[in-house]
Amino acid sequence: MLRPPLSILTASPSAAAAGDKKHKPVNRRRRMALKQISSNKCFGGLQKVFEHDSVELNCKMKFAIYLPPKAETGKCPALYWLSGLTCTEQNFISKSGYHQAASEHGLVVIAPDTSPRGCNIKGEDESWDFGTGAGFYVDATEDPWKTNYRMYSYVTKELPQLINANFPVDPQRMSIFGHSMGGHGALICTLKNPGKYKSVSAFAPICNPVLCPWGKKAFSGYLGTDQNKWKAYDATHLVNSYPGSQLDILIDQGKDDQFLSDGQLLPDNFIAACTEKKIPVVFRLQEANMICFYCVGNGILNGYDHSYYFIATFITDHIRHHAKYLNA
């Protein structure tokens, strides 16, 4: 619906890549104006943050975008990152250290925020695992969330359209990955839209939200009590209905991730489903090879956990995983 005028108004890729100022006039009428918040040179490219008025979410949203050096001369594939609970667009771009790999492979990396913000919905800021910072990448159907909490539509439709219209990206080549709740988001976005994403990967994803406390809380809040509706946003269940187009899923999981042992992530269920449906997954349970005797002696876990340190360790593998399909 927004696409035709957008594409007409789109400046040439190079203009979009080169000119910060040129982004503003684009589509002023459609409330899609981009406002640059920051721009920093990084590994030859630019790490930028923009703000815009989201139609889906009915609020101002920020997103981060990295434009690699290659984007100055041509269209690049787009790789979407979905962050986990409590995160904003900042966590990933400041902590994961993905820029070098993205610069080398020539990928435009987009990291949106994790939920609508400032919508003045009662209870949105009450807990860290629901409401603000915990959109769970679903389209809420329950009041009072359903007008704003439409993160699924935002990340699968509105944001890609905005990006395609304003930045030098190739709309035919996009992939998605994420962490924790974002890993869940990446998996469901892919499984619900066969062929839309060339590849998918996740760090410690919430693989089976309908069975974990986080998922139950969020889904009942956003989607109501009918658990059948939940399954439409559950990766493990979506695997069963996946038609089986070519997919290659890479999942890294820290072995000493407390949320793994808390049963929030449940990767085994997902792996079992994929094994049954023959959906290719490489699941790597990462542990440190080094043994810290102090830690061992004091009962401290010293394997990879749920943090961005863990993400930073394997981010290059994931970028390469996507580059393999995006640059094929």
């Binding site: 290659d248 994929c274 290719p280 997954v281 490489v282 990462q286 542990e287 090879n289 995983h321 393999k324």
Partner: protein, 751 residues
């Protein structure tokens, strides 16, 4: 003509001005403006001149001084012409004109001279450039000249002869216009002429083109001439050589004759001396004999005379005395008469028939034309690359003085063991100083010696020289060839009983099968193995030759190498006894029954505990990729290991190997990426049926892939301190099929 044209209006004006003073002038001026006649007002004239100047883009630089000149001209016209024609328009005019001309000409001449000289200089220096751009210089200058002249004419109303003779060479004007070449008449013509003239029907071509054609023709001829010159020079030097040779040969011949004739003359002189001496002695002897005889004869005569006198005296004596004396006398006479008088001439008066013996001289004379028997020829050592497997080319030389009709070449094989028991000797007769001896045994030493012969006789034998036949061609072990994208490791068998010196490997790219041209060869390989550098993704034919002092052998049978991917075979020597390797060396099978057999003895080369086999990957650093077909339910281990990996341990159990181990138990698949007994915890949902393995020395990585879905499974980061080889192990009965010699899939290149 021009003077008249210039002069007429002035005259007309002067006459007219008497009758119609102002009116006529105005009318006249008016007419001028209408027709733009040469006799315009000065103001108009200047405009025209300037317009012409500016509309002349060629020779802009040149035009500048001329433009200035124009202005000067105009100024002068202002000074003089204007006053003449208009202000002082009546009877003064006629008188004025010559006066003005007198005062006018010298400055004109001076001014003209300078630029004219410049122009000519410029034209001269520009002549070379004109060849390339014939239009530019000439047209520019000519155009300028024309302009100047016209301007002058306009301003003065008459032409300046002086001006013309300095500036305008008229015949050049003609030439400038010729811009096409009439092929029919073989002459340059003007394009306009072509349209209107006799060249109308003729074939023409642009002058430039004609020029090029002519130049080409000349260049060709020059080329021919150069060639001829070279040939002639060669011939001349050849002639010189021949001249010198002839001179030398004749010189030598002359010397030869001279010495021969001197010899003969000496011999004759000696004979003469001998004869003369002999004759003299004979003469002396004879004369002495005769003289002696004469003396004796005289004595006898005296004695006779004395006896006669004595007898006569006795006759005059008395009887008694007479008788007494007579008796004595009678005794004496009797005695005397008894002595025989020798009246035979002791020496023959005539010359004994001396037969002169010239036989030796004759022989000498003969020796001028006949020749001595040759001396022993000198046999050459074997020339490199002169032998083949079954033949050698033996060469020798003779002393230049010798004349030889034929040579006898003898040879026999050199035997190390029993010199006493000689091999059969072979003898060949040849006319040349070389001989190709055939039907020999390859890679064998033969002893050769040679004698020369002419009608005078046989020379002694030469020294003996040992020649060697070239080896037999080696035999490439096609099944042991290993290759990768950049190189191939070729092995071969010597093919000869005796050792050879070295081997040569020849490569030809087999893109064109009919062209057997060798593109590259590697020489001086001491062993029966060579690693040759190749280009990726090509097909090569590879040949090997063996070399010894005699030369190279014939080419071996070719082996084909494809430099697509890496290519290796399973190494039988490492194979666990329970495994069998297929004929093509790419499939390994562990059958059911053999498992009952006992543990084999430990070995350093053969796997004894782990039921494994190694592939012999080419020892080249770079990237190697191969695939292994596996059964989903099979227990197997695939990966890489150092050649000296302990053969009594499991693969992956130490730091000498990096492996993917798959175990299938109670319907659970377990994939371990083992090195030094440790593995990351990796779960795979789609079980590979074909594993891709990428060994990357450059980045020190070993990666595993599920080929069918292009899935990356795991990458080892590993330091390969030495070369590794693929290894394959079967923990349960089953088989592994290796696919290699395949190019790396694109998705693999990301790891």
């Amino acid at each position: 003509m021009e003077e008249e044209a210039g002069g007429a209006p002035a005259m007309h004006r002067s006459t007219a001005s008497k009758n119609f003073h102002f009116y006529h002038m105005d009318l006249y001026d008016f007419e001028d403006r209408l027709h733009i006649f040469p006799e315009e007002t000065t103001r108009m004239r200047r405009e025209v001149v300037q317009a012409e100047m500016t509309s002349e883009p060629r020779g802009a630089a040149k035009g500048k001084p001329q433009k200035e000149l124009e202005e000067e001209v105009d100024e002068l016209v202002h000074l003089y012409g204007l006053e003449d024609d208009h202000e002082l328009g009546d009877e003064f005019v006629d008188e004025n004109m010559p006066r003005i001309e007198v005062s006018e000409y010298p400055p004109y001449g001076m001014m003209r001279r300078e630029p004219a000289g410049e122009q000519r200089d410029w034209r001269l220096s520009g002549e070379a450039a004109e060849a390339e751009d014939p239009g530019f210089g000439r047209w520019g200058s000519a155009g300028q000249c024309q302009d100047l002249r016209e301007a002058y004419r306009y301003t003065r109303g008459r032409a300046s002869e002086e001006y013309e003779c300095y500036v305008i060479p008229e015949e050049e004007d003609e030439e400038e216009a010729a811009d096409v070449f009439c092929i029919t008449c073989k002459t340059p013509v003007r394009a306009l002429e072509k349209v209107f003239d006799e060249h109308k029907e003729h074939e023409v071509t642009p002058l430039n083109k004609a020029l090029e054609i002519a130049k080409d023709e000349i260049h060709k001829n020059m080329y021919k001439l150069e060639k001829q010159i070279i040939e002639m020079e060669n011939f001349a030097s050849h002639l010189e050589e021949v001249f010198i040779t002839v001179e030398e040969n004749f010189g030598r011949q002359e010397q030869n004759f001279e010495s021969h004739y001197n010899e003969i003359l000496e011999t004759l002189a000696q004979k003469y001396e001998e004869k003369i001496q002999a004759l003299g002695e004979k003469k002396k002897e004879k004369l002495e004999a005769l003289y002696g005889q004469l003396v004796i004869c005289g004595e006898n005569l005296d004695t006779c005379k004395e006896l006669m006198e004595t007898v006569e005296e006795m006759c005059h004596e008395e009887k008694v005395d007479f008788i007494k004396d007579a008796v004595a006398m009678a005794d004496r006479l009797g005695k005397f008469l008894k002595t025989k008088t020798d009246i035979e001439i002791s020496a023959q008066h005539d010359f004994e028939d001396q037969t002169l013996d010239f036989s030796d001289v004759e022989q000498l004379m003969g020796a001028i034309n006949t020749i001595p028997a040759p001396s022993a020829p000198v046999i050459n050592p074997q020339a490199p690359n002169s032998a083949t497997g079954s033949s050698v080319r033996v060469c020798w030389s003779l002393y230049s003085d010798d004349t030889v009709e034929s040579y006898q070449l003898s040879y026999r094989p050199v035997q190390d063991g029993s010199p006493g028991k000689d091999q059969a000797e072979f003898i060949m007769t040849v006319k040349e100083t070389y001989c190709s001896v055939t039907n020999l045994v390859p890679n064998t030493q033969y002893e050769f010696w040679v004698t020369a012969q002419n009608r005078t006789g046989l020379s002694p034998a030469s020294e003996r020289a040992v020649y060697m036949t070239a080896p037999s061609p080696p035999i490439i072990k096609s099944k042991e060839i290993r290759s990768c994208e950049e190189a191939a490791l070729i092995c071969w068998e010597c093919g000869n009983l005796n050792p050879v010196d070295s081997y040569t490997v020849e490569l030809s790219q087999a893109a064109t099968p009919e062209a057997s041209g060798v593109t590259e060869s590697v020489v001086g390989i001491p062993t029966c193995e060579a690693l040759v550098q190749l280009q990726p993704r090509q097909r090569y034919m590879i040949y090997v030759r063996a070399l010894n002092v005699g030369g190279p052998s014939a080419r071996s049978e070719p082996a084909t190498v494809h430099t697509t991917g890496s290519y290796f075979h399973l190494n039988k020597h490492t194979c666990h006894p329970w495994l069998t390797i297929s004929e093509d060396g790419l499939t390994v099978v562990r059958s059911e029954k053999k498992t009952s057999a006992g543990e084999p003895f430990p070995s350093n080369t053969r796997f004894t505990r782990c039921v494994a086999v190694m592939g012999n990957l080419i020892p080249v650093r770079g990237r190697h990729y191969w695939e292994v077909e596996v059964d989903e339910c099979l227990d197997y281990t695939v990966g890489v290991a150092f050649e000296d990996v302990p053969k009594q341990k499991d693969l992956g159990a130490d730091c000498f190997s990096w492996c993917l181990r798959h175990t299938f138990a109670s319907s659970r698949h377990k994939y371990e990426f083992l090195h030094n007994k440790t593995t990351p915890d990796i779960r795979i949902t789609v079980f590979p049926r074909k594993l891709g393995i990428l060994l990357d020395y450059e980045n020190s990585k070993l990666s595993f892939f599920n080929v069918d879905i292009s899935q990356h499974l795991y990458t080892f980061g590993c330091q390969f301190r030495q070369f590794v080889h693929p290894c394959f192990s079967l923990e349960k009965p089953g088989c592994l099929k290796i696919h290699n010699g395949i190019s790396m899939p694109k998705h693999v290149t990301f790891y």
